[in-house]
């Protein structure tokens, strides 16, 4: 095992544990995540398999295949986050608007004269 493998496996394990302990997901999420982490560790230990898969898909190297998949994943995440931000913005707007309307007041000049 060389340095980069230790580094990557360490990273995958830390992220996995973080999810398990901090975010307390549903069981199905945990299982999916465990499978994903296992797969990642497998490919880190035996990187040649990625090249075999890449070859079957018409991509030269396993690293290139991973790169393309990462771009897809990245765009997917941005889209998801954007949709979520829009949703949150709407909730925030509705809430702020409601408080603003219930706090609305008429500022009379008579009141300020004394």
């Amino acid at each position: 095992m060389n340095g980069i493998q230790i580094l990557l496996i360490g990273g995958v394990v830390v992220i996995f544990l973080y999810y398990v302990f901090r975010l307390r997901n549903a069981l199905i999420d945990l299982l999916a995540l465990a499978a994903f982490a296992g797969l990642a560790i497998f490919f880190i230990l035996f990187p040649d398999y990625t090249s075999t898969i890449a070859g079957k898909l018409g991509v030269g190297r396993g690293a290139d295949l991973l790169f393309y998949l990462c771009i897809l994943l990245f765009i997917f995440i941005i889209v998801k986050l954007f949709a979520r931000i829009r949703r949150l913005e709407k909730i925030l707007t509705d809430h702020v608007r409601q408080t603003a309307k219930s706090d609305a007041q008429f500022l009379d000049d008579n009141k300020a004269k004394d």
Binding site: R86, L92, R97, T99, L107
Partner: protein, 244 residues
């Protein structure tokens, strides 16, 4: 505070068809602390209901407006001009407004132009009237760069809404309460101007433009739209077309 001159001007305005007490002027304001008082002082003699929507200014506008007969609404956080307008529209409708006017807080609009918009509503019976700097009879003192930018914005609006106006981004509008009921601004940012046009088209509202005068001061130019913010508006429009 304003004394008896107010009464005199009030009788003058009674000659108009529209009772100013049925008109609600919405002023969305974000950090307009320096100028908001003079903007409102210009509006007061017209006797309209004035609604200031403080869109989460860093320092609340409340102390500045405390002595003025206006409605004051404050967003706790800054949401954007579109959101402030919608809050104002909701509020005005709840106060049984018959006509709703939107008016910029940075001093570039003239109080006397509101009457022109209202006259147009009584004469031509449109649902919504917006001001235009470029129609005959209007005057403005804008820079060449801004003129070019607004020309481009016209066609961007046309692509997104199917309406080709003479003025793309004019904050001075007047609408009937029926139109205000139909318009729902969901664009919190500056893209609301295009969204309003989109809804005019979609809900088949009758819309006309009326020449108004715009005076850019050093202050309003600094606060106003720049080239960068036009790009921002464009991407807001594009993204929100995708994510309905």
């Amino acid at each position: 505070m304003q004394g008896s001159s107010q009464g005199f001007i009030f009788t003058l305005f009674m000659l108009n068809h529209i009772n100013p007490k049925e008109v609600f002027v919405l002023i969305p304001a974000y950090n307009e602390n320096a100028i908001i008082q003079s903007v409102i002082r210009d509006l007061l003699p017209c006797q309209y209901n004035i609604v200031v929507v403080d869109d989460g200014s860093d320092k609340s506008l409340f102390p500045l407006l405390n002595k003025m007969p206006v409605y004051f609404i404050r967003h706790r956080v800054n949401l954007g001009q579109g959101a402030a307008l919608q809050t104002g529209i909701d509020f005005a409708l709840s106060k049984k407004a018959s006509y709703i006017v939107t008016f910029d807080a940075d001093g570039q609009h003239q109080a006397s132009d509101i009457d022109k918009l209202l006259q147009a509503i009584t004469n031509d019976k449109p649902d919504i009237v917006s001001g235009s700097r470029f129609l005959e009879g209007a005057s403005h003192n804008m820079s060449f760069k801004r003129k070019v930018l607004l020309q481009i914005a016209r066609y961007v609006n046309f692509i997104f809404t199917g309406l080709l106006l003479t003025d793309a981004h004019n904050g001075l509008r007047a609408m009937t309460k029926e139109a205000a009921n139909k318009i729902q601004i969901r664009e919190n940012g500056m893209a609301h101007a295009t969204e309003i046009l989109h809804q005019i088209k979609k809900k088949r509202l009758r819309h006309i433009e009326v020449p108004v005068n715009i005076y850019y001061t050093e202050y309003s130019t600094k606060k106003g739209q720049t080239l960068a913010s036009s790009f921002r508006i464009f991407f807001d429009l594009l993204l929100n077309k995708i994510f309905k």
